[in-house]
């Protein structure tokens, strides 16, 4: 039972991470295109300024929880996905410092350089996280003799499609975020980007759902327990609701996008159960929530910690998001008494 709870929590941590850092990635990818001058770029960056760091901690927690609850999976996942993880790591490092470095030297070239870094190293992890999860859904090539794949086996058609799918999810998410968090012409451009990205996202989402049938065994669980179809159904409905809400309120469309991301991640997670990483050579070697987990004692201790602290974290992060809920205006950036990036 504890293993199943931790599996759900593991999924939740990844889902929340993608829901939160997803709009940071989207904003990072979009900002050189949506913002036309320095003050607009600063406006775009400052919409995520107070929260991006807290969002990224969900990744560290997801990694830590994998280590604590499913150490064998952690050991194999991180050593098998060596190169993509290094690239994700380098990207997160570069993206993180660029927010801090960008405004520290008053020079056109310096700022343009970091703008490019923010763009590129938001794009790369957005795609690579998708590639990594696509490959986990398909299973990795490992057996008793270890791992038989390379970086290029990861770049298979399904992995790449999932990469593009994640990237578009985050792009839409970021565009919707900017549609109500920025102001003036930036908002207009963001809204138009969100409108234009949506049909593309829909097409890729449909392709993903179809290709998943052929490339993975994710649907087996759903066929055996059809009640679970409610999760992908919510994903599809909320994806459609984004379109509907864009007519009236971009904030509501953003909420729908949050739901889309969370339920999309859970669509994959439920399909994986009870596996964390299937072996696509021989199912006997699948890393499951039972054969790769920590002891019941450790799972219990960690559950107590999670039950106490996760609600506290959610409470103060929600408070912080509410504190900064107002849209960023140009005047805010010119006010010398307020700190901005």
């Amino acid at each position: 039972m504890l293993n199943v709870i931790w599996f759900a929590l593991w999924g939740l941590l990844w889902a929340v991470y993608f829901m939160l850092d997803g709009f940071d990635f989207g904003v990072g990818i979009l900002h050189p295109f949506i913002a036309k001058d320095d003050i607009e770029r600063r406006m775009v960056i400052n919409t995520i300024g107070p929260v991006w760091d807290g969002n990224e901690v969900w990744l560290i927690t997801a990694g830590g929880a994998t280590f604590a609850a499913f150490p064998t999976t952690y050991a194999y996942m991180f050593s098998y996905l060596y190169t993509p993880l290094f690239l994700i790591l380098a990207s997160l490092i570069l993206r993180g410092v660029s927010f801090e470095f960008r405004g520290k030297i008053e020079s056109e070239g310096w700022k343009k350089f970091w703008d490019f870094i923010i763009f590129l190293f938001s794009l790369i992890p957005a795609i690579l996280f998708g590639v990594a999860f696509g490959n986990i859904f398909e299973g990795l090539p490992f057996d008793a003799n270890g791992y038989h794949g390379t970086l290029f086996t990861l770049l298979n058609p399904y992995g790449l499609l999932t990469g593009v799918f994640f990237m578009l999810l985050f792009l839409e998410h970021g565009a919707l975020w900017l549609s109500f968090k920025a102001s003036n012409s930036v908002t207009e451009r963001a809204q138009s980007t969100a409108q234009k990205t949506w049909p593309l996202l829909l097409i890729v989402a449909v392709l993903f759902l179809i290709y998943t049938k052929f490339a993975t065994k994710l649907y087996d669980n759903y066929i055996n327990h059809p009640l679970w179809f409610i999760v992908p159904a919510i994903a599809v409905i909320s994806l459609l609701l984004i379109k509907a809400f864009m007519k009236t309120s971009y904030a509501k469309a953003f909420i729908a996008s949050c739901v889309t991301i969370v339920t999309t991640v859970f669509t994959g997670i439920i399909g994986l159960y009870p596996n964390l990483i299937p072996s696509n050579i021989n199912p006997a070697y699948n890393l499951t929530i039972f054969n790769s987990s920590s002891s019941q004692y450790t799972l219990k201790v960690m559950l107590i910690v999670a039950v106490i602290f996760v609600p506290i974290v959610i409470a103060y992060q929600f408070w912080a998001h509410m504190l900064f809920k107002e849209a960023i205006k140009k005047e805010d950036l010119e006010d010398k008494e307020v700190e901005t990036y």
Partner: protein, 443 residues
């Protein structure tokens, strides 16, 4: 080169680089919180400007400490998969708890602190600074509990081919963990206070904002004196704990080859690892080593030769690092005592040589911190978990030397560039005169 050596080099490089930025975060977070509290309590604008001045430096430093920390979490799985699998039941928990209890706290309230000057009240703003400081220090607590378990594993059984927890609290509350935590965070406070004192001294020498920097120097000196004493006293207790739990490390720290009752300590010594003796031993203090290690002049201290060769750590590097660290630690007590004396007599500005010395002293506590980690980690070899798992048995089997070389090259390039920029920015902003009260600085 084999994967073990490469993985060790990679960990050493990335961990030591990470720890250039962490100690300042540990110490400066409290100092900035103290400065802001002084502002809230007195309403004196000088403290507000001081807070913003050092706060900006805190942020430049924090950025790199944060991002380079993720590397280490990933590295356990990427390069040390067999280790992760063997100890994950135990080692994973403090890491996950660190993220849940500490990282969220520090990152969320740092966001509030940076961007919330006009969004929250003065008190809530100062409270955010304190929460950031507590967050960083709680983070240190959990990662050091994890490291202490690698040094002295407790509360576990070997079951299912791995180490499994049977007593969580035994690992959390063991003296090794508590002492290591206090020693490491107080070392961070020393880094923070020498940073504040050194930068203040620089501006005092230039006659910039004398009132502000005299006040800042005073805060740094008081905090620094307290921290230097704690780091020194706890360091002595910590070494005692090492003597009890890691006899090979202690013998390497002192370069003691033969087991001795009432062991002396040589103030000057050159180890000769090849011939299993010391090439030079000068100025011996009788029974001193026994006193320091066991607080008993007649205690027996085990020498390196009483352990099999393949259980001994590298001696020279452990010994030299330890000696230098202790010498520096002593120096910090003397410097902060003298600073305290000058402030009490109000003679700080009359002693320009001392101010110059304090500017030059900024890097020294950093050096002491790095050396401390070298003692802790090299001294633990050849074990990754002392007495339980050898470093050579801990690497990933799925990873090739070429992959590790590639990522080492990547990290060295990335870290060199970012480290250079970060230190350049720190120096640039440390040299700036604080913004006047009417026009408070933005980014």
């Amino acid at each position: 080169m084999d994967t073990v050596l490469l993985a060790r080099w990679q960990f050493a490089l990335t961990a030591l680089f990470h720890f250039i930025f962490v100690p300042l975060t540990l110490g400066l977070s409290f100092l900035v919180a103290i400065m802001e509290t002084a502002y809230v309590r007195t309403g004196n604008e000088t403290y507000l400007r001081m807070t913003k001045f050092f706060g900006k430096l805190f942020l430049i430093n924090f950025a790199l400490g944060l991002v380079t920390g993720i590397t280490l979490e990933f590295e356990f799985g990427m390069n040390w998969a067999r280790y992760s699998k063997f100890v994950g039941d135990i080692f994973g928990s403090p890491l996950a708890i660190e993220a849940t209890m500490a990282f969220f706290l520090e990152s969320t309230f740092l966001g509030v602190w940076i961007f919330g000057w006009k969004k929250v009240s003065k008190t809530v703003h100062a409270l955010s600074a304190w929460l950031v400081a507590f967050g960083t220090n709680i983070s240190a607590l959990w990662i050091l509990i994890a490291n202490a378990w690698m040094q002295h594993p407790v509360g576990y059984v070997i079951r299912n081919g791995r180490a499994e927890f049977v007593n969580f609290w035994a690992a959390v509350l063991q003296p090794y963990a508590i002492l290591k935590f206090l020693h490491t965070v107080s070392a961070g406070y020393v880094v923070g206070s020498f940073f504040v004192m050194g930068i203040s001294a620089y501006h005092l020498l230039k006659n910039h904002e004398v009132d502000l920097f005299k006040k800042a120097f005073k805060i740094g000196a008081y905090f620094g004196l307290f921290a230097s004493l704690v780091v020194f006293i706890v360091g002595d207790m910590h070494a005692g704990e090492v003597a009890k739990t890691q006899p090979t490390k202690l013998a390497a720290m002192e370069s003691l080859w033969n087991t001795q009752k009432g062991a002396p300590m040589y103030l000057f010594l050159i180890p000769d690892e090849k011939h299993e003796k010391n090439a030079v031993e000068l100025f011996g203090v009788p029974k001193m080593l026994s006193i320091l290690a066991y607080h008993d002049p007649n205690a027996t201290v085990r020498g390196l030769k009483s352990f099999p060769k393949n259980d001994r750590p590298p001696v020279t590097i452990t010994f030299v690092s330890f000696r230098t660290m202790v010498a520096l630690g002593t120096l910090f007590v003397l410097l902060t005592l003298f600073a305290f004396y000058l402030i009490k007599r109000d003679k700080l500005l009359d002693n320009k040589w001392f101010l110059k010395l304090m500017v030059l002293a900024i890097p020294l506590p950093y050096l002491a911190c790095e050396l401390g980690w070298i003692v802790a980690e090299v001294g633990r070899q050849p074990w990754i978990v002392y007495g339980l798992l050898r470093t050579s048995q801990a690497t990933s089997t799925a990873v090739t030397p070429a992959q590790i070389i590639m990522t080492i090259v990547g990290f060295v390039f990335l870290y060199s560039v970012l480290g250079f920029i970060d230190i350049y920015l720190l120096i640039k902003y440390a040299r700036k005169v604080p913004e006047p009260a009417t026009k408070e600085g933005g980014y």
